[in-house]
Symmetry: C2
Subunit: 338 residues, 2 copies
Amino acid sequence: MSAEVIALRPQVATPSLNPMLALTAAGMNSVNAVILDRMQSEIPLIPALAGHLIAGGGKRMRPMLTLASAALLDYQGARHHKLAAAVEFIHTATLLHDDVVDGSELRRGKATANIVFGNPATVLVGDFLFSRAFELMVEDGSLKVLKILSNASAVIAEGEVDQLTAQRQIETSEERYLHIIGAKTAALFAAACRIAAVVAERDAETEAALESYGRNLGIAFQLVDDAIDYDSEASEMGKGKGDDFRDGKMTLPVILAYARGSEEERHFWRDAIQGHRTSDADLAHAVTLIARHDTVSATRDRARHFAQRAIDAIAGFPAGAARCAMAEAAEFAVSRRY
Amino acid sequence: MSAEVIALRPQVATPSLNPMLALTAAGMNSVNAVILDRMQSEIPLIPALAGHLIAGGGKRMRPMLTLASAALLDYQGARHHKLAAAVEFIHTATLLHDDVVDGSELRRGKATANIVFGNPATVLVGDFLFSRAFELMVEDGSLKVLKILSNASAVIAEGEVDQLTAQRQIETSEERYLHIIGAKTAALFAAACRIAAVVAERDAETEAALESYGRNLGIAFQLVDDAIDYDSEASEMGKGKGDDFRDGKMTLPVILAYARGSEEERHFWRDAIQGHRTSDADLAHAVTLIARHDTVSATRDRARHFAQRAIDAIAGFPAGAARCAMAEAAEFAVSRRY
């Protein structure tokens, strides 16, 4: 795997997120201050529940992308801090609702908010953060940013409903899967990058280039997330191992294992995705079949394709620390093991 | 009861919503067209689920209030149609999430969306409608309207969380209860009225007057809703009878019955609100205690106070069909039995 990653950018032995973290460190301090300030409420349960997830050690990829994109454009203002916080609030709201929808028990190695605080409070605090995100955008005052992020929010919700509809449907195609992750994950990555071009008052081509970087990176990111859930070599994930399998989610490792499988294997997958095979032995068998057809590798290969498209989308921008960090972040996204 | 209502406006024997319906009929056709158009999605489950509630026979009070307020100001444009639809989408999203939060089974006499389509889809379609509401506002393009409605949305979510925190807490005061319904219900009524002044480009005093009408009407409306849930004389409600009782919700009929009750009665209420008395006989006993202390009437009296404040808030506007309809709507709100 690492040999292939080196082929992308020979100068980097082990791609990491460190250049992106360094590039955005000062800005992220401001973003984090906005996040902490604006998740407050006179109702104590709100900051308690929101803080449980927000303090839970996420990478804050999306606000970092807004900041990195702004750095790429040499934007010198501070408007993007509030907007990056709004992006993170939208993301946090969708995570809270996702965990209720999936009945998840673990995220980033910690008990989920729905387990600690219950489904009702988790749904409502998600709504609160979503509203706060729009309040932050309104304070900034750009209708263009509001349009981009309200549209992204609707697309995310559509993608989540589409994923729900595809759940336990063994015939889900790779095309449909890509459509789903393009909506539920990549739409917010794309919007997070694009709004930097809006605040920097750059032209439509610049917006489109950053949108493309974000979209492709988001797809790559989700593909790798879905690969990791079946990767027998991956180190322990934060989320419960095999969650996708037990939930009957049609992710690419399964779609390809089903497509490439024998009649007997397909029979197993049909049963499993319909929820009739949920034991640890069933999960182990699923991982064996996936290894047999190399579909975790195939999924990572697909991710590499999108990561390369992300890198090429920003090839026309001036070389420098920002472009380098964003390219390496794309490589990191596809090489990561957790 | 009706004698007291007559005292408010002697010319009306039985207050009804009909003048408001007549006043807004043409405009509501446009609003309904926007609603039907904008709840569509390429994901069929979305319009199916949204339509289940939207076609479910609600009064659409909130968009009607936007239209009536615009008529009061003699606004001749059409911007308020899209915004009224946005208000209804925000309301629909909160209803969907409320029903998940409460595990409700009936609304307006029909099975709730969460029962028909499940909690996961109901949460996500709520998110979709909420996003669509913001898309509609962004299309309209008024940052002032966006500010009013994004703030109202955050306040609603806070009110809902606050209500959740107060659930099963027998010591909840009337003050706290009023604070909760001011947030969860009245904030959107207030915003629905106020935005009409913004699109009609009227001054801050006009905005404040309509905001006050909406806020007081909303409080009156919720008080009566909460009275009806314990009103032994009320005709059958759309929602499951005694839901508030079984959910341990501290609404005013209970708060006052507890305050006015004997030590023995208080003991019953403590047990009941904590969820230890949920049988039909327990509900019947609760209704008896409430009748003994006349707290349904007391709750309706409180509502009448707020309805009168709503009517007086618009007393300075020109007399005419709109002001008349809005005043009678306030009287209807407190006299209704379902």
